[in-house]
């Protein structure tokens, strides 16, 4: 089977399901319908992503050319083990977030628009993750970003939310425009924007259906990479492109905050992986430039880790504290991704495999832990009388042991306390840099974790250990608590099954970020269609 229909089907069908909702809203007057509709759409996305993941694991890389136009002429989606895994993570967490939204969004008036944007956000993320075309990545980044801007400003009667959405939108538009300009350079010199075809030219140096090179490809690639990495680090909120995040994420509705902090930032990280480990890989003609860019990302990742951890310790707002925690954790993921610098580790060496699998593992752990804590913070805010101030929360989680339990699990997961997954992913990151002969990076990883303790203890203290101001707190129904419990179980599972997960991630890294993985990406995404 060359094509995989479900790869191409998911994004367009989910777009249809999302944008038909306002029309349905004219005729249907039952808010429960919208909850059920969005949950089923999200479940469909999860089932399809799980099927795609299963097929990729058993059969290898799969592609889907839209409209029957072979790449590089038409747009194609291509999935290997890494993007299939990230898509599965995204759809799983989004499904739980959609279920939680049924509790959070209560009025009929906003439900159709909220779910349109939420599903739009999911479509944008899946499009970015699945696409095998650099221009389509730009389009899907816009779909994702526009949904995100609108969701940040969803509480439009709040000036802070509108201000945060404007800031996010303004800088976001600059970021995607810079990426677009980068693509102009790529297209101008390589004559293609298909990722597999780019691999064809950048790595194998073969002329393809899109012709050959034009002009100064090294100069064009350097400019394109500089502009693209700026845009990707903006999307993943890495220092100093993180300023929008602590404003935007807290002002969004709580389920959206969970999606933004737990999932949307992953898209930037994934794009960096695809650009620096597949298209412009260590085997490409620009490997020296890639080295310098990775070194810059390592420095920025460490800076991001320190700044996020330190800023967490001085926050008074529970959601802002969690937002800074995202800056810190994405910094750590980026540190793992930077292991591919040639002075650190060469492909297939233990340091290289451990660093990349540690980055992937930490991405998963962070997504689960951060979504859990954001969703739990929504319940805490509700129980505390709609306040986000840590001082006013006053130990409300003590009134609900299940909520308290899930907060503890989320905090321990992100802190990296054994036996939770966060410990093992940080351990992999730590050991990879020791193995690479750069122990000072490992020390800094530990220092970042140590500083972040101050912030997490503030959260635990405010939600659980402060003496409650009142005995009477509003009752919370089972829906959000079930979602929190499911996420807490997943967090625990990432730790309990760490041995298997680590081995499995090493296998995935070996199949994707290796010479064979790059060959497969090119072979199934281009060669299989055209041959020589």
């Amino acid at each position: 089977m060359v094509y995989l229909l479900s790869v191409g089907l998911l994004v367009p069908s989910l777009i249809g399901l999302a944008f038909v909702l306002p029309l349905i809203g004219i005729f249907v007057r039952n808010v429960k319908f919208f909850h059920a509709y969005a949950s089923l759409a999200s479940l469909y996305a999860l089932a399809t992503a799980a099927y795609n993941f299963h097929i990729v694991l058993s059969e290898g890389v799969k592609a889907y050319p839209f409209g029957g136009w072979w790449p590089p002429i038409g747009i194609s989606y291509e999935i290997d083990e890494v993007n299939a895994l990230i898509a599965l993570l995204t759809t799983s967490v989004m499904f739980l977030i959609t279920l939680y939204s049924a509790w959070y969004i209560k009025d009929l008036k906003s439900a159709p628009y909220y779910y349109t944007l939420l599903l739009g956000l999911e479509v944008g993320m899946l499009g970015c993750i699945y696409t095998g075309d650099a221009f389509n990545l730009f389009v899907m980044l816009e779909v994702m970003s526009i949904s995100a801007y609108a969701l940040v400003g969803f509480h439009r009667s709040k000036p802070e939310a509108v201000e945060a959405a404007i800031k996010y939108g303004l800088f976001g538009a600059v970021a995607t425009t810079l990426y677009f300009i980068g693509l102009v350079f790529v297209y101008g010199s390589f004559g293609t924007l298909n990722m597999a075809d780019l691999v064809n030219k950048v790595t194998f140096g073969i002329s393809s259906a899109s012709g050959t090179y034009y002009g100064q490809i090294h100069a064009a690639t350097a400019v394109a990479l500089a502009l693209s990495l700026w845009a990707f680090t903006f999307k993943s909120a890495v220092f100093p492109n993180h300023f929008w995040l602590p404003d935007a994420h807290p002002e969004a509705p709580t389920p959206v905050s969970a999606a933004l902090s737990g999932l949307v930032v992953n898209v930037g990280v994934y794009a960096i992986f695809r650009f620096l480990y597949t298209i412009f890989s260590p085997y490409s003609i620009v490997s020296e430039l890639r080295d310098v860019m990775l070194l810059a990302l390592l420095i920025l990742g460490l800076a991001s880790g320190f700044v996020g951890a330190f800023m967490m310790a001085v926050q008074d707002d529970i959601k802002r504290l969690l937002a800074y925690s995202t800056v810190s954790h994405i910094g750590l993921v980026l540190v793992g991704l930077s292991i591919g610098i040639s002075i650190a580790a060469h492909p297939n060496t233990p340091a290289y495999v451990n660093g990349l699998s540690g980055a992937l593992y930490h991405l998963i752990n962070h997504s689960l832990g951060k979504s859990l804590l954001f969703l739990a913070s929504g319940v805490v805010i509700f129980m505390a009388g709609n306040t986000r101030r840590l001082d006013e929360i006053g130990g409300v989680a003590r009134r609900n042991p299940l909520l308290g339990f899930t907060i503890i699990v989320g905090v321990l997961q992100l802190l990296g306390v054994p036996p939770f997954g966060g410990f093992f992913s940080k351990y992999l990151l730590y050991s990879s840099y020791v193995e690479a002969g750069m122990p000072y990076v490992s020390v800094m990883i530990n220092a970042i974790s140590a500083i972040s303790i101050l912030g997490y203890v503030r959260l635990l203290y405010a939600a659980l250990f402060k003496t409650p101001r009142t005995r009477e707190v509003p009752k919370v129904n089972l829906t959000p608590l079930t979602v929190l419990l499911a996420l807490a179980i997943l967090c625990i599972a990432t730790g309990v099954l760490s041995g298997s997960i680590t081995e499995w991630l090493r296998w995935i890294v070996g199949r994707t970020a290796s010479e064979q993985g790059i060959f497969n990406y090119w072979f199934y995404g281009y060669y299989l269609f055209w041959g020589r």
Binding site: L289, T467, T502
Partner: protein
């Protein structure tokens, strides 16, 4: 390079650390129970007449404010860093953000330029 550190079994490390943490948590809980036995279970507003001239609601909570938590450490060990991070970098002004973000794109562009010039130099020599 200390290979002993690298080859430490993560599962065993996790088990040992978990045990230590569980013991510490149990100990802290016992101390907490012992200290909080006589304490009221909810915060109270200070409702009696106050003769110092200040507002009556001086004591709002039985616990330390979250804002003050670790303030001594942050102010003592990282005052300079805190002031730079809060007042200069995270001051909420978009103009200041732009400076850092433009500096960053400038830095990446510089890398690109140096790379290109280096290649030209190699080709020329």
């Amino acid at each position: 390079m200390n290979m002993g550190v690298i080859n430490l079994d993560p599962s065993m490390a996790a088990l040992t650390l978990s045990g230590v943490l569980a013991l510490t948590a149990a100990l802290m809980y016992l101390i907490y129970i012992a200290l909080s036995r006589r304490a009221p279970t909810s915060s109270v507003e200070y409702g009696e007449a106050y003769i110092g001239g200040e507002s009556r609601t001086v004591i709002k909570s039985l616990d330390i404010s979250v804002r003050n938590l670790f303030w001594g450490i942050i102010w003592g060990a990282g005052r300079r860093l805190y002031l730079i991070l809060r007042d200069r970098i995270h001051n909420g002004m978009m103009n200041d953000w732009s400076v850092y973000m433009i500096t960053y794109i400038g830095f990446l562009s510089l890398i690109a330029l140096v790379y290109f010039l280096a290649l030209r130099w190699v080709a020329w020599t």
